[in-house]
Symmetry: C2
Subunit: 365 residues, 2 copies
Amino acid sequence: MKIDSGMLEDFARGAAFLGTGGGGDPYIGRLCCAHAIEQYGAPQLLALQDLPDEANVFSVAGMGAPTVLVEKLFSLEEAHLAVAKLEQFLGRRADAIIAAESGGINATLPVAYAAMRRLPVIDADGMGRAFPSIQMVSFNVYGVACTPMVIANEHGESVIVETDGALAAEQLGRTLVVQMGGSAMLSCYPMSGAEAKRTAVAATLSAAHGIGRAIAAGRSAGQPVAAVIEYLRSTTYYRHAYRLFDGKIVDVQRETTRGWVLGRCVLEALRGGGERLEIQFQNENLCAHRDGRLIATVPDLIVVVDRETAEPITTEGLRYGQRVCVLGVSAPPALRTPEALAVLGPQAFKLDHPFTPIETLSTTA
Amino acid sequence: MKIDSGMLEDFARGAAFLGTGGGGDPYIGRLCCAHAIEQYGAPQLLALQDLPDEANVFSVAGMGAPTVLVEKLFSLEEAHLAVAKLEQFLGRRADAIIAAESGGINATLPVAYAAMRRLPVIDADGMGRAFPSIQMVSFNVYGVACTPMVIANEHGESVIVETDGALAAEQLGRTLVVQMGGSAMLSCYPMSGAEAKRTAVAATLSAAHGIGRAIAAGRSAGQPVAAVIEYLRSTTYYRHAYRLFDGKIVDVQRETTRGWVLGRCVLEALRGGGERLEIQFQNENLCAHRDGRLIATVPDLIVVVDRETAEPITTEGLRYGQRVCVLGVSAPPALRTPEALAVLGPQAFKLDHPFTPIETLSTTA
């Protein structure tokens, strides 16, 4: 299967949905993909199980606060500098490209880059969603080394980082990205096909496409939110999908600091009664409390969409007065294991509640 | 000529003198050298003109605020990690080691490291003194590329930086060093023997040794300050040497920030009359004003020594009540050219006076 131009709108919208508030404007990612496919041809979407064990797999991603990413357009040349430096350093060339996350522009960028390199892009990623930090990825949870990692910027500057552990790579990398202008391209977790098959979350790029397609079909039928929930319930990972809240945004606090967008958003119920929902975010939506009671938490997905169109709204797109619908969706099982929760669960974000699956919270709510 | 254990005390003290207030505690550098020479043997001190054109020359230095460097003992393993990563990245091995600066521990460290590697250390550096920033070096002024540059720390972490220009390398490197614990080891300006001969400041390690020896001899004769001035006047670079001020320290302001020690020190004349000298510093002493009038400025050397022993006092060693002597010494000519002044003259430190040679300031004072 190839990812052709006709699929890009749905794919980018679905990726924005899986971005759970982070990952940057999908419109930018779509433009970048469309341009690359026009210039180089459509890349092959390779199923994870079809990847040869000995293949050299390289990731590529943008890093930085989405508020900066949307202002500073990136180029594939930056992405190529990051990957090419890593290839040069390791003395081996990429056979396939993998996404680190399937949310936002970090889902679309690897597709565009794979087109440019005329390499397949693997139908998988390290999250099945988006996360704000380099270590919060199944590759790390299940034992692939994060470094050597290359960070490159639009000035042709590059940095090769080798650390003991992915958290140290995140800390050094974050500092570098802030110094390099607030956003940069990176390539990390270089791995074999066997390692990718053992650690990646499979079939997530095609899931992004499916989500976008469901929204489009739902729009034609006048029920886009219901349509996307129905689609999610038909998938393996995302089958616990709930419409958590219909409300109007009455407060947004947002700060771009230390390379992230941090903040919270408060919604008031449309049906009256004064019920309130509060969402905390760090690039991505982290947890939702309804009238003080937890109803969804990382690593499960919390997605804010427009009530009428189901268009996903990123944390930097939240505006006072917007009428939105908040969805809660189960995370892939690989993200819900104890070892995964230690790296990307509530405590990793210094939240004071334990992880409870969305399907449990919804039943008891 | 070899640098043997018997020379180390004089060499380290002379290096502290050329450190002009920066460069860390010479005692630490001396211990490090003594240990390396005991373990590996004395390294050869190779005259710059004897270096083959095609030799691979690698520098090694510590980076960070001296206040941190004195607390965090570094090891030769860290230094080796920096150089070895650079050798690996470039695919060539060092034939000789060069100091980036001849002041403080960055003069002694390359000697210790050369001993460990059983390589010659070149009798030269990029300053003939010390400076607080990576770009402030004759290698950069006269066209050697700063990067690829490797920064390594005591946790075995390393970063290879490639930037467009030495100033960008300094900015990224400084950020990294702060993140990596306040001090780290680096290797940068990899160059050929021909480039070293074209750009380095020759005979500065032997000058450091000569300065230390003069102080020691002067102590025996009861006139160490006079003795070091007499020695400096016999050299090519440092022949304009003046006793600028004898005073008591009445005020020290010092802040460790953004990877540097910044501050100023005020002295009151011992001979009475209320005459005051103010020295501004950024790791190193930058300029001296007597009663508001400039009497010495970078790149010329401003050295604070103990009045009785001529022991050099680093900026982090300045204490209220110390009775000191302030010396002003001409910088090597390579640091006084217009292209050098643009990189390491008063304006590079955002000082609002132009460079005027110490010999001119002293005549008109």
